[in-house]
C-alpha cells in the first residue's frame, strides 16, 4: 500500500468511475463469496436498522401484543397465519419482529465490544511497540498472560462475576455495558499484538526518522504518523472480530450471563426459545439461531476477503 508507483495520480475528487475501477473494487467483484457475504450483511443490517418501521410488533411495548395470536407456527405450517411469517411466541409477539429487534441489540453489543478491544489494544500496542521499555514489556506480558486463556472463557468469567457481584436490580440495567466490557476486555491482546508487530516494522522506516528530525513529539509520531500506516491490519482484525463479538454475545446470553430475557438479542432469544424446543414450538429457537449463523457467516466472508485484499501481515 506504500508502493508509490502503484498509486493512482493524486486527486482529491471522488468519482463513481474512480471507485468502481479501484483495485479494491475489482478484487471485490471477482470474489463471489465476498459479494454474497456483503449482500447478506447489508440486508441483515438494513433490516435491523429499520426494525421500528418494518416490525409488526414491538417487544418493548407489551401492551401492543395480542394473546389471541400467541404460539402461532410459521405461515407455511398448518395453523400459521399472516402477517406472522415466522410465527409468534407465547405472548403473541411476532418472531420475525423479535429477531429484527434482537439483531439490533446483538450488533450494538458486538460493535461496541470491538470498539473497546480495538481502542484498548491499539493504544497499548502502539505504546508497547513505539516506546518499548519497561511499560512495553509489562503490556506485552499482560497480553501473553491473557493469551493463555481462551477468550470466550475470560468473557464468561468477567461477565458472570460482575453480574454475580452486582445487586439484583442493577443486573438487568447494566447488562449491556457489562457484556460490552467483558467481550472487549477478553479480546484486546489480539489487537495489541498485531499493532505492536506492525509498529516495530514501521518504526525502522525513514518517514519516522524524518518526523522525529522535524521535532515531532512521541505521541504525535505514534498517532499521526505510524497509526495511519497500520490501519489496514487493524481494519481486517476489527471486521473479523465483530463476528467473534456477536457470537460471544449470543453465547454469554445463551448461558444466562448476558442479556436478560426482557432485552431481546439473538442470544437471549435463543435462550428463551430453547425452553420451548421440546414442547414443539421449534420456531422460537431455530429462526433466531439461523439468523445468528447467517450474520456471523456474512461478517466472516467479508472479513476473509478484506484480509486477502488488504493483505496485511496477520499472524
Amino acid at each position: 500500500m506504500t508502493d508509490a508507483t502503484r498509486l493512482p495520480p493524486a486527486t482529491t475528487r471522488l468519482s463513481v468511475a474512480r471507485v468502481w475501477n479501484a483495485p479494491i473494487s475489482r478484487s471485490f467483484r471477482r470474489s463471489p463469496a465476498a459479494v454474497g457475504g456483503a449482500i447478506v450483511l447489508i440486508l441483515l443490517v438494513g433490516a435491523a436498522l429499520l426494525a421500528p418501521w418494518i416490525a409488526i410488533t414491538d417487544p418493548y411495548e407489551l401492551a401492543t401484543l395480542d394473546l389471541l395470536n400467541s404460539r402461532l407456527p410459521p405461515v407455511w405450517v398448518e395453523g400459521g397465519s399472516w402477517p406472522y411469517i415466522l410465527g409468534t411466541d407465547n405472548q403473541g409477539a411476532d418472531v420475525l419482529s423479535l429477531i429484527l429487534y434482537g439483531m439490533r441489540t446483538s450488533l450494538l453489543v458486538g460493535i461496541l465490544a470491538v470498539c473497546v478491544s480495538c481502542t484498548l489494544g491499539t493504544v497499548l500496542g502502539l505504546i508497547s511497540g513505539y516506546l518499548g521499555g519497561l511499560v512495553g514489556v509489562i503490556i506485552m506480558r499482560a497480553a501473553d498472560i491473557q493469551f493463555t486463556f481462551p477468550a470466550i472463557l475470560l468473557a464468561l468469567l468477567i461477565g458472570g462475576l460482575s453480574q454475580a457481584l452486582l445487586p439484583a436490580h442493577l443486573q438487568a440495567e447494566l447488562a449491556i455495558p457489562i457484556l460490552v466490557g467483558a467481550l472487549g476486555l477478553s479480546h484486546w491482546p489480539h489487537f495489541a499484538r498485531l499493532v505492536r508487530g506492525a509498529v516495530l516494522v514501521e518504526k525502522t522506516k525513514d518517514y519516522v526518522d524524518a518526523a522525529r528530525l522535524t521535532g515531532r513529539g512521541r505521541w504525535s509520531i505514534m498517532f499521526r504518523h505510524i497509526l495511519p500506516n497500520v490501519t489496514n491490519a487493524i481494519i481486517v482484525l476489527a471486521t473479523l472480530d465483530i463476528a467473534f463479538a456477536v457470537m460471544g454475545e449470543a453465547t454469554l446470553s445463551f448461558l444466562g450471563f448476558g442479556l436478560p430475557p426482557t432485552e431481546p438479542s439473538l442470544g437471549s432469544l435463543i435462550r428463551t426459545g430453547y425452553n420451548y424446543l421440546f414442547s414443539g414450538e421449534w420456531w422460537l429457537v431455530i429462526f433466531p439461531a439461523l439468523t445468528l449463523v447467517l450474520l456471523v457467516m456474512a461478517v466472516n466472508l467479508v472479513g476473509d476477503w478484506l484480509r486477502d485484499a488488504l493483505n496485511p501481515q496477520l499472524d
Binding site: R141, D144, F149, L157, G160, H190, F254, V285, I286, A289
Partner: protein, 329 residues
C-alpha cells in the same frame, strides 16, 4: 533449547502466580466465611473466635501463603452449594469433560487434517474451493447453535439420541467412564459433534494454508524438477513438514475444546467441569470458582508448555537458540 524451555516455564509460573492472586482476592473479598459457618444469630464473641481460628486476622501474606499451600494440596475448602469438599466435586466431574474434549479432538483432527491436505493438493479444483467455503460456514457455527440444531433433528424429530446427560458410566478406579457402555457412547455423539464442528473447519484451514506454504518452498520445487511423482512429493516430502505446526494446533485445539466444552455441557446438561463452573458462577459459589480458575490456569499452562517442548523436539531448526514462537490466532 534449554533457554527456550526455561523461558516458557518462567512464563507459565508467572501466569499461575497472577491467577493465584486473582483467585485468592476473589475468595477473600467475596462472601463472609464466618457468617456462612455460624449463621446470622451467632454472638460477636463466637464470630471473633472463629475468625481467629480460621486465620482471617492474619496478615495478607500469611493468608495468601496458606491459600497457595492448601491449593497445592488440592484443598480448596467446601463448596457453598454442594456442602462438600471442592476437590471431591471436581474429581467426579473431570472425567466427563476430558472424555468429551478428547473425543472432540479426535474428530476435529481426524476430519480436519485430511480435508486440509486434500484441499491444498487439489487447489484450483472447484470442489476444493467449495470445501473451503464450507469451512467458513463451519467457523460461523457457534457451539451452542450446533448443539441445538442436533438436538432438534436427532432428539426431537427423529428420537434417535438422548438430548441430555451422559448415559450409564462404568467405574475404572475413581474414573467414571462413559466410553464403555452403549448408552454412554450414544449420549457422547451429539455433544462431541457440537464441540468438534467449528474446530474441524479451523484445523482444515490451518492445514491447508500450511501445506500450501510448504508446497511453495525450494526443496519441493527441486523435487519436482528431479521428476519425482507429484503424489510422492505431496505425501512423502510436504506432508511431513506440514504436520509440525499441526502439533501446535492440536494442543491449542485441546485448550479451545475444554473452553467451549463449557458451552456444550450447558446445552446437553453434560455433568462435567464446565457445567459445574456455570452453576457456581450463577450461585456465586466462590470456592468452586476460585478452584476452577487455578485448575484452568494450570491446565492451559501445561498444554502450552507441552506444545512448546514438542515443537522444539520435532523441529530441529528451533534447537539453535532462536525463539521461533509460532502463534495461532
Amino acid at each position: 533449547m534449554i533457554t527456550l524451555i526455561a523461558q516458557r516455564l518462567g512464563h507459565g509460573c508467572l501466569v499461575i502466580f497472577v491467577v493465584s492472586i486473582l483467585a485468592f482476592l476473589l475468595s477473600s473479598l467475596v462472601g463472609d466465611p464466618v457468617a456462612s459457618i455460624l449463621g446470622l444469630n451467632a454472638t460477636p464473641e463466637d464470630r471473633a473466635a472463629l475468625a481467629q481460628d480460621l486465620g482471617l486476622n492474619d496478615p495478607f501474606l500469611v493468608r495468601y501463603a496458606t491459600f497457595v499451600w492448601n491449593a497445592l494440596h488440592f484443598e480448596f475448602g467446601m463448596s457453598w452449594a454442594a456442602q462438600r469438599p471442592v476437590a471431591d466435586v471436581f474429581a467426579e466431574r473431570v472425567p466427563a469433560t476430558l472424555e468429551l474434549a478428547a473425543v472432540a479432538l479426535v474428530i476435529s483432527l481426524g476430519v480436519g487434517i485430511p480435508v486440509g491436505i486434500v484441499a491444498a493438493v487439489n487447489r484450483g479444483a472447484w470442489w476444493s474451493s467449495v470445501m473451503m467455503s464450507a469451512t467458513v460456514v463451519g467457523l460461523s457455527l457457534p457451539t451452542f447453535v450446533v448443539g441445538i440444531l442436533l438436538i432438534f433433528v436427532f432428539s426431537v424429530q427423529l428420537g434417535w439420541l438422548p438430548s441430555f446427560g451422559r448415559g450409564e458410566t462404568v467405574a475404572i478406579g475413581w474414573w467414571q467412564t462413559g466410553l464403555l457402555t452403549a448408552s454412554g457412547l450414544k449420549a457422547l455423539i451429539m455433544p462431541a459433534l457440537a464441540l468438534a464442528i467449528s474446530q474441524v473447519a479451523l484445523v482444515a484451514r490451518l492445514v491447508r494454508a500450511e501445506m500450501l506454504d510448504v508446497l511453495r518452498t525450494d526443496y519441493i520445487r527441486f523435487a519436482r524438477a528431479r521428476g519425482i511423482a507429484p503424489r510422492v512429493i505431496e505425501f512423502g516430502h510436504a506432508l511431513r513438514n506440514t504436520l509440525i505446526p499441526v502439533i501446535t494446533v492440536s494442543g491449542i485445539q485441546l485448550g479451545f475444546l475444554v473452553a467451549f466444552a463449557v458451552v456444550a455441557e450447558a446445552v446437553f446438561q453434560w455433568p462435567g467441569v464446565g457445567l459445574l463452573f456455570l452453576r457456581s458462577l450463577g450461585s456465586t459459589d466462590v470456592p468452586v470458582i476460585s478452584a476452577f480458575l487455578l485448575l484452568a490456569a494450570a491446565f492451559f499452562v501445561l498444554i502450552n508448555l507441552a506444545v512448546d517442548i514438542l515443537y522444539v523436539v520435532v523441529d530441529p531448526r528451533l534447537r539453535v537458540g532462536s525463539t521461533g514462537k509460532v502463534s495461532v490466532h
